[in-house]
Symmetry: C2
Subunit: 340 residues, 2 copies
Amino acid sequence: MIPKITLKKIAAEFNVSIATVSKALNDSHDISAKTKEKIKKFAVQHHYKPNKVALSLLNKKTKTLGVIIPNIMNSFFTEVFVGIEEKASELGYSLISCISNESYDKEVNTVDLLKSGTIDGFIISIAEETQINKNFTHLFDAINEGVPIVLFDRVTDEIECDKVIVNDFEGARHATDHLIKTGCKKIAVVSIIDNLSVGKLRVEGYKKALTDHDIPIDEKIIVRLSKKEDLETVMKIVLANKTIDGLLCLEESSAMLSLDLIKKMNYSIPDEMSMICFTNGKLPQHVTPTITTISQHGKFIGETATKMLVERLESKIELDFSTKIIKTSLIQRASTMPLI
Amino acid sequence: MIPKITLKKIAAEFNVSIATVSKALNDSHDISAKTKEKIKKFAVQHHYKPNKVALSLLNKKTKTLGVIIPNIMNSFFTEVFVGIEEKASELGYSLISCISNESYDKEVNTVDLLKSGTIDGFIISIAEETQINKNFTHLFDAINEGVPIVLFDRVTDEIECDKVIVNDFEGARHATDHLIKTGCKKIAVVSIIDNLSVGKLRVEGYKKALTDHDIPIDEKIIVRLSKKEDLETVMKIVLANKTIDGLLCLEESSAMLSLDLIKKMNYSIPDEMSMICFTNGKLPQHVTPTITTISQHGKFIGETATKMLVERLESKIELDFSTKIIKTSLIQRASTMPLI
DNA sequence: TTGAAAGCGCTAACAT
DNA sequence: ATGTTAGCGCTTTCAA
């Protein structure tokens, strides 16, 4: 094993000072051409790379961003992560990433751990537990200590910072409107994310569409569950109401379960039952029938969040906080009737 | 914004030396109980956290691992990442992660960037481009400079280091054997990963199974493509051979395309055409019909790789390199006939 | 019981 | 053109 080469060792090699070597390698004007040349040559030969940790300590910048994602097995977050990674890499930043697993404790620990020097700023989507207990002091503290945060998707009004959110209300409204316009008379909702800000907004959007079409809201067919496990039981009860002919699923996994169930119950899709779900991952494209989805443009969200954070980090002046709202798109597939 | 509190500031507060504060906070025995108490109290009140960067510089350890994954949209790698994250977090390590996007340059740049002090060791699955051009000097250099590497899934014999691999040969052999035993007479293979070590091994396993059953190998029905785009054309030609009644797909995305194609061609699955594919993500569980898969136990691979790396990092003695082979499991679903 | 000094690897202002 | 000094935040001898 070759011990790592440092300025000190190069300096010793040529009997010059460390400062001279540093300047030579940084192409400073007050070092003679020959000295520069011989030092540079030696440095290249020995694969000299400045120690990032030393530079971080000196500059109080690590060129590293902390990313906290609730659950990477969720295709939406995977997409966002891809966007973050691509943009960060383009802008010269590394990523320290952590999966909170929807746990408040893990989120708090990670923020506490990383804010002490390790990273320059955070990109966070708030864990479910945190959204339930509404305790955001860890985020508040980080910002207060000079570590900026960009929140995406799952945000809170209680923290003032940059945010990138999806137009969940409008996405759900549009989807519901689409179901109505393609002939659905009675549309049920399935939500296993009613604890989340986004889940609540989506239900609001759904209600708005109904109201716009003078359709009464029936709370009994708005299925709110805390875990996937109960879905089958509850859905069976709801679907016993044979007049239901449309289903809006607020995220992917409950959509897949509902689809299986509906098929098992011998509904014909989309003639007897239409379906739309949030999140445009691979699943809705490959199941039978393919599912009409509301795309949240995850990658773009990731890119946007990263750009906002880096702009703040590198800005000379104090920027105002802003919230970017990303429009959703409805992607029509075989689970809904064509618009006439 | 509250400026971050340091030992220096605490020392100034109490008119003691920095060393005293450091010792007090670390509960050193040679500081008086009262001094300790008042300093600790003050530190807690002001949310003092030792600066990780300073500690890293001092200890020459960052307690951070570098993870390089070729493509996070691939569910296998997502699973591995979950395993890595969980184990690393449990062992007190952070993760700097990067998606190489199958690019040689990105992989090299990341390794170069991170090896200079930022991380203690790497967990890497080699990018496709790197496996093609077989240039592994960046990995060799890192190890040589004292930064250990654990390779997983996509490995190379040319680098001596710890490795975690899947028993791809046996997985493919077993799957092919299963197809034969459930009645398939002529089994085609679809590979878009023939550039990868794992892709080649899987073809070998397939061939072994055929040979074991005295079935002649027909290279014409081993479809090797460099990109997904050509799949449809080629598959149509191959499937024109109406005697084919089994299909082994070496990864998920080509399996999905093949499935669509087979259904479009009105094959009845599994009666007229059986199918097995590698990688047990959500897709094969939710498509119609559900697909029999070979599970590589991604999460376990991630956990194992992380454990190996941390053990090496924290070992007092020089450990020998080892290669852990993870067994695959065949998960039977509706795309294959039941074993009689 | 406390403090001074050295050093981790590096840069930059200020001599020489 | 080159060197000296100081300092980023911390720990750890060693001295007082």
